[in-house]
Amino acid sequence: MLAAVWLCWVYYHAIATTRYSDPVEEVLHFTGTGAINLLLLSLTISPLIRRFRLSPLFALRRPLGLWALAYGLTHVVSFILFELQLDWQQLLDALISRPYIIVGFIALLLLSAMGVTSTRGWQRRLGPRWQRLHNSVYVAAPLVLLHYLWSLKTIGLEPLLYCCALLLLMLLRRQQWQRWWRRAMP
C-alpha cells in the first residue's frame, strides 16, 4: 500500500541524510501530519457510504484506521529514538508536565485500543460495547488536532485547513449527534 512505501521512502532519505536539513524534524512532521491525514480519511468513509451508497468503500475503513495508528506509533517511536534519543528522564518529564505531549499520548492510547480490537473476533466478543469503544475516535481525532496545534509556534494555513476538515466531517454526522444528544438528555 501507498502509505507503507511512502513511509519507507522518507525514512530511507532521513537516514541517508542527503535530502533533509533536519531529518528528525522531517520525519516527525511527516508521520504526524500523515497520521492526521489518514485518520481524517478514515472518517470520510462512513459519510460517503451513507450519502452515495458506495458500500464497496467500507473495505477501506479499517485499513485506513490501522494505517493512521501505524503512523502515530512511528511518530512516537521516532520522537523517543531520534528527538529525545532515549533520554527517559526527559520523556517522563514531558509526559507529566507538557500538555501537548499528554494530549497526543491520550489520543494514541485510544487509537491503540481501537487498533487492537479491530478484528472480527474482538468485535464479536465485545458485542454492543465494541461500537461504544470505537466511537472514541470522536474523542481521539480532536485530541490529535489539539496536539498538533499546541506544538506549533504560530497557526498557519495548514492547521486551519485540518480543523475545517474535521468540522466538516462532524457536520456530516449531525443526525447521529442529534440522536445521541436526545438519548443522553431525555
Binding site: 532521513a14 536539513s21 533536519d22 534519543q85 501537548y100 504560530t154 494555513l157
Partner: protein
C-alpha cells in the same frame, strides 16, 4: 496611397501580455503543477518540500567576501554544513516551514538597500548596499546558534561588531536601548502579504537590545557566511547575530537601527509574552512553557540516526556576558 498596413506579427496594445503577468507565468505554472502533481500522488514529486526548486535563472546571487579570521572569539566545534545552514531557516516573511525561506526568497532584491541609523544619536547616517560590506573591516567568527525550538548549529559568520556601527553615530547619553526593524515589503515577502503564509505575525519584524548588550564585542552585524555574502534566506544583506540569545533575537534583513530611551517592542514577545521575553538569553534552567530548554539537538552532517543531543549551556556557553545581568532574576527576565 500610403496605406498603413498592420504587419501580420504586430499586436494591438490591449493584446500584449502585461509584463507583470508575463513575469509571473512560472508562478502560475507552479500553481497548476501543485494540483496536477498531487492528483498523481506520486511520492517522488509530492514529497519533496520544494517541488520545482531547480530554477537556476531565479537563484539569489552571493559573492565571495574577504574577512579576517577571529580565532579568539570563534569556537572550534564541528561546523554545520553550509547546505544545512542555508536550507533550514526560520524567516517567516517567506513562510513558516523550514524549507520555505530557501524556496521563496530566491528572487529577493537587496541592491539597492538602505540601512538607517538614527534615534538618540548626534550623527544619524545611512548605509547603502555597497557600504554594508566596505564601511567596517570584516571578520570571520564561528559562533554557536541556539534556536528557541531546541536545535542548534555552528556557523562561520562574516561581519563586524555592532558597537562600531553605533559609535559612528555618536549615541547620546540618554540612549538606553537599540531597536531593529526588518524590511517591510509585502510584494517581495509573501509572509507579510498573507497572514496564512506569515504565521499571523504583525510585520515588520522588530527586535531590541539593551545598549550594553548591543555594545558588547560578541554582538555582530553579519553580512555573510561561509566566505560569501548572505543568502536571502539567511537575512541578506545584513542581519544581527547575538550568539548568547535564542535565534529569534538575531533579526534579519535590517533596514533601520534606532537608539531609544525606552525598551522597544519585540516581535515574538508581542505575539506570546508568556513564552518569549525581551531578553531571551539561552538558559537551560528556564523552560519554554511548552518544551524543555535543558538540552538541544546539534545539527551537523549526521542523519536520522546521529546521536547529537547535547546539554544546553547558560548563555549558550558565552559565559563572559553573565556580568551584564548581575543581580537580575533571569527566571523573571527570561
Amino acid at each position: 496611397m500610403t496605406g498603413y498596413r498592420r504587419s501580420s506579427f504586430s499586436l494591438p496594445e490591449h493584446m500584449v501580455t502585461d509584463e507583470k503577468v508575463y513575469q509571473s507565468r512560472r508562478t502560475l505554472l507552479k500553481r497548476l503543477g501543485y494540483v496536477g502533481a498531487s492528483g498523481l500522488l506520486a511520492p517522488r514529486t509530492s514529497l519533496a518540500s520544494g517541488w520545482f526548486d531547480d530554477e537556476p535563472e531565479t537563484a539569489f546571487k552571493t559573492v565571495p567576501l574577504d574577512a579576517q579570521a577571529a580565532p579568539d572569539v570563534s569556537t572550534s566545534e564541528t561546523l554545520t554544513p553550509e547546505q544545512r545552514v542555508i536550507s533550514h531557516n526560520n524567516f517567516y516573511e517567506f513562510g513558516t516551514a523550514k524549507s520555505d525561506p530557501k524556496n521563496n526568497a530566491q528572487g529577493f532584491k537587496v541592491d539597492p538597500w538602505t540601512l538607517q541609523i538614527d534615534g538618540l544619536v548626534e550623527a544619524p547616517y545611512s548605509l547603502g548596499y555597497e557600504d554594508l560590506t566596505t564601511a567596517f573591516p570584516l571578520q570571520e567568527r564561528i559562533y554557536r546558534l541556539r534556536c528557541v525550538e531546541a536545535w542548534s548549529m555552528v556557523i562561520p559568520w562574516i561581519g563586524f561588531e555592532l558597537n562600531a556601527l553605533l559609535k559612528k553615530a555618536k549615541p547620546m547619553s540618554s540612549a538606553r536601548y537599540v531597536a531593529f526593524e526588518t524590511l517591510y515589503d509585502p510584494e517581495q515577502m509573501p509572509g507579510q502579504a498573507s497572514r496564512f503564509v506569515g504565521g499571523g505575525i504583525d510585520y515588520p519584524y522588530v527586535e531590541g537590545l539593551r545598549i550594553d548588550e548591543a555594545m558588547h564585542p560578541l554582538t555582530i552585524l553579519s553580512v555573510g557566511l561561509y566566505g560569501k555574502t548572505l543568502p536571502a534566506q539567511n537575512g541578506a544583506p545584513i542581519r544581527l547575530v547575538v550568539p548568547w540569545k535564542y535565534g529569534f533575537k538575531s533579526i534579519k534583513s535590517i533596514v533601520r537601527i534606532r537608539l531609544t530611551d525606552t525598551q522597544p517592542p519585540t516581535t515574538w514577545n508581542r505575539l506570546a509574552p508568556q513564552e518569549y521575553g525581551f531578553y531571551a538569553n539561552v538558559n537551560p534552567a528556564v523552560d519554554h512553557p511548552r518544551w524543555s530548554q535543558a538540552s538541544e539537538r546539534r545539527i551537523t552532517s549526521g542523519g536520522l540516526l546521529a546521536r547529537n543531543r547535547i546539554d544546553t549551556l547558560p548563555f549558550n556557553g558565552y559565559s563572559e556576558v553573565a556580568s551584564l545581568y548581575k543581580g537580575m532574576d533571569l527566571r523573571r527576565y527570561y
